[in-house]
Symmetry: C2
Subunit: 105 residues, 2 copies
C-alpha cells in the first residue's frame, strides 16, 4: 500500500482531523487501528493519510458529505468518539473540506 492516498480526480471531500493527545494511552492504539479498519469498510471511503509528532494529523477522503455523515454516525465510531473526548484528546479540531484541485509528483 502506498503511503499517499490514491484518491480519484476531484471533486471529493477531505476530513482533516488534527489533535493533541493526553498522556492516557489505555486502549488508544487499538481503537485508532480499529477505526482505520472500520472506515475502510464504509461506503464512500477513498483513503486515509496519518502522521503524529507532538501534533497528530489524520486526513480521510470521502466521495460525498453523506458518506462522511454516515461514518460519523457509525455506532462503533460514536463510542470511540466519546472516549476520545473524555480520555485521549487534550484538544482536537475536525475540518470538513471539499477538494477542488490536486497535483503531485
Amino acid at each position: 500500500m502506498s503511503l499517499l492516498a490514491n484518491t480519484p480526480k476531484p471533486p471529493y471531500y477531505a476530513v482533516i482531523f488534527t489533535s493533541v493527545r493526553t498522556f492516557d494511552e489505555q486502549g488508544y492504539g487499538d481503537a485508532a487501528n480499529r477505526m482505520i479498519e472500520l472506515a475502510q469498510q464504509q461506503p464512500g471511503f477513498l483513503g486515509v493519510e496519518s502522521a503524529r509528532e507532538e501534533l497528530g494529523i489524520t486526513v480521510s477522503y470521502w466521495q460525498s458529505l453523506d458518506a462522511i455523515k454516515q461514518w460519523k454516525a457509525n455506532i462503533e465510531h460514536l463510542a470511540v468518539q466519546k472516549k476520545g473526548r473524555k480520555l485521549w484528546y487534550e484538544s482536537f479540531k475536525v475540518r470538513i473540506s471539499k477538494v477542488e484541485r490536486d497535483y503531485g509528483l
Copy 2:
C-alpha cells in the same frame, strides 16, 4: 503558540500537502523552516499544522484561492519547490480544498 491552528469561522481554504521524503537531508530542514516563516508573512495566511512520521502532512490555511496562488508563485518559494521536486521528495500530493465546516474540543 497553540499546536492547533486557530482558524476563523469557515469558509476558508486548506492546502493539504502530503509527502514521502528521499534520504537527501541537505538543506531540507532550513528550507522547511524558512518556508513556514515566509508563509506566515503572506497575505491571507491563516495558520499551519504539520506532522511527519514515514509520511509527512502539512496543512496550511488561507483566506482565499487567490492567497494560495500568490503563495505558490512567491519567488523564494518557487526555488524551494523546484529543489523539493528534484532532491527532497520521493513523492508528494498537494490538495487544494475549501473548508465548509469545523468543530472541535
